[in-house]
C-alpha cells in the first residue's frame, strides 16, 4: 500500500475493501455515523485499542481479537452486545493483502458473534509512525432487567470460577512472536464470551462479578476484584486449569501462567449456593466446557489473594509493579 500526498485512490481502495467485508446495512449507507433506535433498558459501552505483535497468530489475528476483546468487555457487565464501531490506524506501506485478511477475519468474528460493525474510520500514518495496524473497537450493549454485575460485589463466602484453562493466549503470542518452536503448537483462546455469559445469567441471575482476565492474567484480575470489593480471595493451585503444554512452556520460560493473558476466558464470582448450578451451566457451553471452581472469597482486611500451593503453603498472589521480576535474594 502506498499512500503519497493525495492518497485519494488509496482511500477509495480501502473503502472498497471495508465495504466488501463489513457489509452491515448501516455501514454501507455511507454516513459518518450509525443511526439506530436503542432497545429499552440500561446500556453499556466499552472501548479498547488493540495493539499486538504478531498480527497473525495461532487461534486468531488482530481483527478477530479486536472484535472479541470489546464484545467481552461489554459482556462482562452481563449485557447483550448490540453493535461495534471500529477505528483503524494503518502505517503507510502496510500490505493490502494483510489488511484484507484482517478485515475479513474481523467480519467473520462479528458475524459469528452476531454483533455487527456499524460504523468505522480509517487513518493512514507515515511509515515509521505506526506498527502496521492498530485497531480501536467500541461496543454497546444492553443489560437485562434485574442483572447487577460489578467488580465491587464479591462477598465473603462467594465462590470463584474460571471458564477454562489459563495462559493460552499470552503463551501463543509469545511463542509465535519469538519463534520459540515448542513441540505442541499453543493456540490463542480468543473468543467472544457473550453467549456463554447469557446462558450463565439465565441460570444464575445473581452472579456478583464477571471479568475477563486479559492483560496481567488471572492474578491481576483477582487482585482487582479483591480490591474493588474489599475482600480477600483464597484459591487452590491444583484447581486452576492450565493446559499441560502451557504449563510446560511457562516453566521453561519462567513465567507464571497466572499472570499470562487470556482472550477467551472469564472469571465469575457467585454466591456459594449457586456455584454448582453455575459451573454445570458453564460446562454445557462449548466455551465453558473446562470451567472450574478455583476458590472462594474470604474476609480479609489485607485484601490478599492467596493460593494454597502443592506444598501446603499459602502464597500471596500479588499485583506486580512491572515485569515478573525475581525477588529471591
Amino acid at each position: 500500500m502506498s499512500h503519497g500526498s493525495g492518497g485519494r485512490a488509496m482511500a477509495q481502495l480501502i473503502g472498497e475493501l471495508f465495504q466488501r467485508y463489513l457489509d452491515h446495512e448501516l455501514l454501507i449507507l455511507g454516513n459518518d455515523q450509525a443511526l439506530f433506535t436503542p432497545p429499552p433498558g440500561r446500556m453499556v459501552m466499552s472501548t479498547d485499542g488493540h495493539v499486538i505483535s504478531p498480527l497473525f497468530f495461532p487461534g486468531g489475528d488482530i481483527g478477530s481479537l479486536a472484535v472479541h476483546g470489546t464484545i467481552n468487555d461489554v459482556a462482562m457487565s452481563g449485557a447483550r452486545p448490540l453493535y461495534l464501531a471500529a477505528g483503524f490506524i494503518l502505517e503507510e506501506g502496510f500490505p493490502l493483502g494483510d489488511l484484507a485478511r484482517i478485515v475479513a477475519s474481523m467480519a467473520r468474528a462479528a458475524n459469528a458473534a452476531g454483533v455487527p460493525v456499524v460504523t468505522g474510520d480509517t487513518k493512514v500514518v507515515e511509515r515509521g509512525k505506526g506498527d502496521g495496524v492498530f485497531i480501536t473497537t467500541t461496543g454497546i450493549g444492553v443489560v437485562p432487567e434485574g442483572i447487577l454485575i460489578s467488580g465491587d460485589r464479591a462477598e465473603p463466602g462467594d465462590v470463584i470460577l474460571v471458564s477454562g484453562s489459563m495462559g493460552d493466549h499470552g503463551v501463543a503470542i509469545l511463542s509465535k512472536r519469538e519463534n520459540l518452536g515448542f513441540e505442541t503448537e499453543i493456540r490463542s483462546d480468543s473468543a467472544a464470551l457473550h453467549e456463554l455469559v447469557a446462558t450463565m445469567i439465565a441460570a444464575v441471575p445473581d452472579i456478583h462479578c464477571l471479568r475477563d482476565p486479559t492483560r496481567g492474567g488471572l492474578a491481576t484480575t483477582l487482585n482487582e476484584l479483591a480490591h474493588q470489593s474489599g475482600v480477600g480471595m483464597q484459591i487452590r493451585e491444583d484447581a486452576i486449569p492450565v493446559r499441560a503444554e502451557v504449563a510446560a512452556a511457562c516453566e521453561l520460560l519462567g513465567l507464571d501462567p497466572l499472570y499470562v493473558a487470556n482472550e477467551g476466558k472469564l472469571v465469575a464470582v457467585c454466591p456459594r449456593d449457586q456455584a454448582e448450578r453455575l459451573v454445570e451451566t458453564m460446562h454445557g457451553h462449548a466455551l465453558g466446557a473446562e470451567s472450574a471452581i478455583i476458590g472462594e472469597v474470604v474476609e480479609d482486611p489485607h485484601r490478599f489473594v492467596q493460593m494454597e500451593t502443592g506444598f501446603g503453603g499459602s502464597r500471596i498472589v500479588d499485583w506486580l509493579a512491572g515485569e515478573q521480576l525475581p525477588r529471591i535474594c
Binding site: 509469545l174 519469538e178 516453566e251 520460560l253 519462567g254 506444598f311 499459602s314 500471596i316 515478573q324 529471591i328
Partner: protein
C-alpha cells in the same frame, strides 16, 4: 546528709536486676532504694559521711561481677542528689528497699526467651522438690518472655500466663525479693500452672497412666524410642521430633513434611552426646550452653553420614519389625499394654553409642545443626536419650511453624503420629536461632529465640537518631525499630511471600511498636518494587503521612555490617564486598556481586561481577543448570564450549536441555534479566559439578553443597592455585569477570580431577579474585577497612579465605556478628542508612 543517684542503663528490666541490687546493697550495708524507670534502673543511696564512697564502689564492683545472667549493664552514671525532696526521702530510709515503678514512665524492656537455668533444671530433677518433673519451671534467670507477651507493661496480666492465677506458694516466691522468682512473670508450679498432655493425631487424649509410664513426657519419650514422629509444643513454636538414629523415622518425617533436602536440626541431652557426633570446641560448648541456646552448626566427625548400621535384632527387646500400632491405641486399648511393653527400653535398643545418625538427617553436609534442651519439657524428654533427636520446626516446608493447639491438630495432625501439647499459649512465634562460628567468632545466621528482641546499641554519632521503622527484605525478613539510639530487630519472621507469614509480620509489627512505644518519624524500605515489605511500607507511610526512605539492598547490607561493628557515624567510608543472590540495584538492574565504596549516608558502586542473564527469571534461581548455560554463553558462547569439550559430562547434560529457547530468552532479553549475582555463579559451578540438585528446594542449596564438597579439599589447593578471573575497567567501574575460570574448570573435569578439589579451586580462585580486587580498590580510594556481607558470606570457606587475604594485606575486616549476613540483617542496615540521612538533613523524599 549526702546522697547520690546511680543510673544503670542496659538490659536491666525484667531480668531480676532489682533483686540483685537489693541483695548486694544490703550485703554492702547501703541504705536507699532501687526502681525501674523509663531509662533503666535508678538506684539512690544515702551516705552518712565522705567515707561511704568506698561502700558504693564496692557495691558497684559486685554488681558488675554478679550481674544476673540475662542482664547486661551498658553504663553506670553516678551523681550527687541535690534536690531537698530526694534528700528528705532518703533521710527516712533506714534500710534498702525496692520501689514499685511508676508505670507511666516505664519503657519496660521485653527480653529474649532464655533457656532453663541450672537451678531450675536441678529442681525438676529433684524428686523432693515441689517442681519435680514440672515442665513449666522457670525463674527470673530463665524461661519464656517474648513468646508469651501480649503488650506492656510487662507483667503477668499481659502475658499468656494471665490464665493461671498463682497459688499461695508461687505468689510468696513472686513477692519475696530474696527469692529467685521475685517478679518472675511466668512463675508457675504443678498446683497453679499450665500442664502438658498427649494426643494422637485424631485428637484422642492418651493417658500416661493407661500407658504405664510416669507422665505424658515419659510417654512421649517412649513413643520416640518406638520410631514415632511427635509434634512437641515448646517455647516459641512446635517441633517435629523423631529419633535421629532411626533411618525409617527420619525418612518418614521428611516425606510427611515434604522437606526433601534441607538439613534437619538436632537436639541432644548434653555436650557429651553432641561430642559423639561433632567436633565441639570450648567456644562451641559455651555457645550451646548459653541462655540463648541456639542451633549451632558444628563440623561432623564423620564426613559423609552415609554409613548406615542396621539395627541388630539382638539389641532390641521387641521382636524384629514389631510396631506398636497406633490404631490400637486409638480404638482404646486392647493391645495397648502390649504395645508398650514391646517398646524397647531406650538404653538397650541399639548397640553402643554413638549410634550412627540416619543418613537423611543432613544429606551431603559436613556440618550438623545441633542444640541443647532449652525448656524443662526438653530436659525431661531427653533425660534418657544418649543419642540425638531430630527437632525440626513444626510445619510443612514453606509455611511458618504452628504456635496454636488447634492449628497444630489441623496442620501437624497430618505430619505427626502423636502430639505433646500444653495450655500455655504461645503468643509470638519465635523460631530457633542459628549460629555458626566463622573466622573465630560466633555469627548469627538466623536471629530469633534467645536473641530477639534484645536491642543493639547504635554506634557513636547516632545518639540523636529519630524513631524509625525499617521494614526489611522479602525473604528471611526481620524489621528494625530505632529508638533511643538503639536498634531493636524483630525475631526472624521468614518469607513474606507466604500469606501466613505476611499476616504475622503485620501483627508482630504492631506488637513491637506497642512494646517499645515507638512512633516512627520515617519508614524505610528496600528499592525492590514488589517486596511485600516495600508495599506495606509504602501504604503505611501514605496512611500515617510520614516520609518513606528507600535504601538500596546492598547498601543496606554494607550499613548493617558497619552498625553491627559499632562503626561511628562520622568514621568515613569503607569498601564493602556484598555478595548475595540478588537485590534491586539503584539502576533498576539486579545486583548481587558488589564492591561498594560507602558509609552510612551514601555509596558508590566501584566494581561488580559481570552481569550474566538469568534465563527464565525466578526459574533460574531454582534450576542451577540455567546459570551454567548462561555463564558459558556469556563467557565466549555455548557453541564454542560445546565444540571444545564435546562429550564432557556437564556439556552433555546441558546439551539435553532446551537450550534453543533459553538462547532466545537471553538474546531477546525476554524474562532473562541480567544480574551481577554471586549466588548464581555458585549455582553455575555447582551445576557443572552436578551437586546441589537439579531443581533446588531451598535457598542457597547449591552453594551449600558446593561448600560442603570443597571443605575436605581446601588444604589441597594452594593459595595461588585457584581458578582465574578477569578484570576490566568500564566507565561505571571495574568488572570482575568469571569467564576465564570455565576453561580451567572444564579442563580439570575432563582431566578427571576430583570434584572436591575443583570445588575448592573455585573457592580459592574466587577468594583470591575478591581479595586482590578489594586490595587494589582500597589502595586506589585510600581505604583501610573492608566490610564483608550478603548471604554468600554464610559460606565459611569463602568468608575465612577472603578475610585472611585482606588481613594479610594490612586491611581491617568487618564481618557481621550480631545480625545475619543474609537478608535477616538487612533491616538494621536500612535503619542505619535512613537515620544517617535524617541526621544529615539529607534526602528524605
Amino acid at each position: 546528709m549526702t546522697a547520690e543517684s546511680i543510673r544503670v542503663r542496659g538490659l536491666v528490666q525484667g531480668v531480676g536486676f532489682r533483686p540483685t541490687v537489693w541483695r548486694l546493697a544490703r550485703a554492702c550495708g547501703l541504705r536507699g532504694d532501687v526502681r525501674n524507670d523509663g531509662e533503666g534502673v535508678l538506684i539512690r543511696v544515702r551516705g552518712s559521711a565522705a567515707g561511704d564512697d568506698a561502700g558504693v564502689s564496692g557495691f558497684l564492683k559486685r554488681l558488675y561481677e554478679e550481674c544476673p545472667p540475662l542482664a547486661r549493664i551498658d553504663s553506670v552514671e553516678r551523681r550527687p542528689i541535690a534536690d531537698p525532696q530526694g534528700l528528705a526521702d532518703l533521710a527516712q530510709q533506714q534500710d534498702f528497699v525496692i520501689l514499685e515503678s511508676a508505670a507511666t514512665a516505664v519503657h519496660t524492656g521485653i527480653v529474649a526467651d532464655a533457656a532453663t537455668c541450672a537451678a531450675c533444671v536441678a529442681e525438676i530433677r529433684d524428686p523432693a522438690d515441689r517442681r519435680h518433673r514440672y515442665p513449666f519451671t522457670n525463674c527470673t534467670h530463665c524461661g519464656p518472655r517474648l513468646s508469651i507477651v501480649a503488650g506492656i507493661p510487662y507483667d503477668r496480666a499481659r502475658t499468656s500466663m494471665s490464665a493461671f492465677p498463682m497459688c499461695p506458694d508461687c505468689a510468696a516466691e513472686y513477692k519475696d525479693p530474696a527469692d529467685r522468682r521475685f517478679h518472675a512473670q511466668p512463675n508457675a508450679c504443678p498446683v497453679c500452672g499450665p500442664g502438658v498432655w498427649l494426643q494422637d493425631a485424631a485428637g484422642q487424649p492418651l493417658d500416661p497412666v493407661v500407658l504405664g509410664v510416669e507422665d505424658a513426657i515419659a510417654a512421649a519419650s517412649r513413643f520416640l524410642a518406638d520410631g514415632r514422629i511427635l509434634a512437641i509444643k515448646g517455647i516459641g513454636g512446635f517441633h517435629l521430633a523423631c529419633d535421629a538414629t532411626n533411618p525409617d523415622a527420619v525418612a518418614e518425617l521428611r516425606r510427611r513434611k515434604r522437606r526433601y533436602a534441607k538439613p534437619l536440626a538436632l537436639m541432644a541431652r548434653d555436650l557429651e552426646v553432641i561430642r559423639g557426633y561433632c567436633r565441639v570446641t570450648g567456644q562451641d560448648a559455651a555457645l550451646l550452653s548459653a541462655p540463648a541456646a541456639p542451633i549451632l552448626l558444628l563440623d561432623r566427625l564423620d564426613s559423609g553420614g552415609t554409613d548406615r548400621v542396621e539395627t541388630s535384632a539382638d539389641d532390641a527387646v521387641a521382636p524384629d519389625g514389631f510396631r506398636c500400632a497406633l490404631p490400637d491405641l486409638e480404638s482404646g486399648h486392647p493391645g495397648l499394654e502390649d504395645g508398650f511393653r514391646c517398646a524397647p527400653p531406650i538404653l538397650r535398643c541399639r548397640g553402643a553409642p554413638p549410634w550412627p545418625l540416619a543418613p537423611d538427617v543432613a544429606p551431603g553436609q559436613t556440618t550438623l545443626g545441633v542444640m541443647l534442651p532449652y525448656s524443662p519439657i526438653h530436659h525431661l524428654l531427653l533425660a534418657d536419650w544418649d543419642r540425638p533427636l531430630v527437632m525440626t520446626s513444626g510445619n510443612l516446608s514453606e509455611e511458618p511453624q504452628c504456635i496454636d493447639n488447634a492449628d497444630a491438630l489441623g496442620r501437624l495432625g497430618q505430619l505427626a503420629d502423636i502430639l505433646l501439647l500444653h495450655d500455655r499459649a504461645i503468643l509470638n512465634r519465635v523460631d530457633d536461632s542459628v549460629v555458626r562460628v566463622m573466622a573465630g567468632e560466633a555469627r548469627l545466621l538466623r536471629r530469633a529465640r534467645g536473641y530477639a528482641p534484645a536491642p543493639l546499641a547504635l554506634p557513636p554519632g547516632f545518639e540523636a537518631a529519630p524513631p524509625l521503622l525499617a521494614l526489611g527484605g522479602e525473604l528471611k525478613n526481620t524489621f528494625c525499630l530505632i529508638r533511643d539510639a538503639q536498634a531493636i530487630l524483630s525475631q526472624h519472621l521468614g518469607d513474606l511471600e507466604d500469606a501466613k507469614t505476611a499476616r504475622e509480620y503485620e501483627r508482630t509489627l504492631a506488637l513491637y511498636l506497642d512494646l517499645f512505644q515507638v512512633v516512627p518519624e520515617a519508614l524505610v524500605v528496600d528499592l525492590h518494587p514488589d517486596y511485600r515489605s516495600s508495599l506495606i511500607g509504602r501504604d503505611r507511610a501514605a496512611r500515617d503521612g510520614v516520609p518513606l526512605i528507600g535504601v538500596q539492598h546492598h547498601h543496606a547490607h554494607l550499613a548493617s555490617t558497619l552498625a553491627d561493628n559499632g562503626w561511628p557515624l562520622d568514621a568515613g567510608p569503607v569498601l564493602g564486598i556484598l555478595l548475595d543472590g540478588l537485590g534491586y540495584g539503584s539502576d533498576g538492574t539486579l545486583w548481587g556481586g558488589e564492591f561498594l565504596l560507602g558509609d552510612y549516608l551514601d555509596f558508590q558502586r566501584v566494581a561488580h561481577l559481570k552481569p550474566v542473564a538469568m534465563p527464565g527469571g525466578t526459574r533460574a534461581i531454582l534450576e542451577p543448570w540455567r546459570n551454567l548455560y548462561a555463564h558459558l554463553e556469556s563467557a565466549g558462547g555455548w557453541a564454542a564450549w560445546r565444540a571444545r569439550f564435546a562429550g564432557l559430562e556437564p556439556i552433555e547434560r546441558l546439551d539435553a536441555k532446551p537450550l534453543g529457547i533459553l538462547k532466545t530468552l537471553i538474546a531477546r532479553g525476554l524474562n532473562a534479566p541480567l544480574s551481577s549475582s554471586a549466588g548464581r555463579l555458585f549455582d553455575a559451578v555447582a551445576a557443572a559439578l552436578d551437586v546441589g540438585g537439579e531443581v533446588l528446594t531451598y535457598e542457597g542449596q547449591a552453594a551449600i553443597a558446593l561448600e560442603s564438597l570443597a571443605a575436605v579439599a581446601m588444604d589441597r589447593v594452594g593459595d595461588g592455585d585457584g581458578y582465574p578471573f578477569a578484570r576490566s575497567i568500564v566507565p561505571t567501574g571495574e568488572i570482575l569477570d568469571p569467564a576465564p575460570l570455565w576453561d580451567a574448570l572444564l579442563a580439570d573435569i575432563s582431566r578427571g580431577r576430583p570434584p572436591e578439589e575443583i570445588a575448592a579451586a573455585f573457592h580459592v580462585g574466587l577468594a583470591t579474585a575478591l581479595g586482590t580486587l578489594a586490595r587494589d580498590l582500597a589502595r586506589r580510594h585510600e581505604i583501610s577497612t573492608v566490610a564483608l556481607s550478603g548471604g554468600v558470606f554464610q559460606n565459611r570457606l569463602l568468608l575465612e579465605s577472603v578475610a585472611r587475604r585482606l588481613e594479610a594485606d594490612g586491611l581491617r575486616v568487618l564481618l557481621q556478628r550480631q545480625v545475619p549476613a543474609n537478608d535477616g540483617g538487612l533491616s538494621l542496615g536500612q535503619a542505619a542508612v535512613a537515620a544517617a540521612r535524617v541526621l544529615s538533613n539529607d534526602s528524605v523524599d
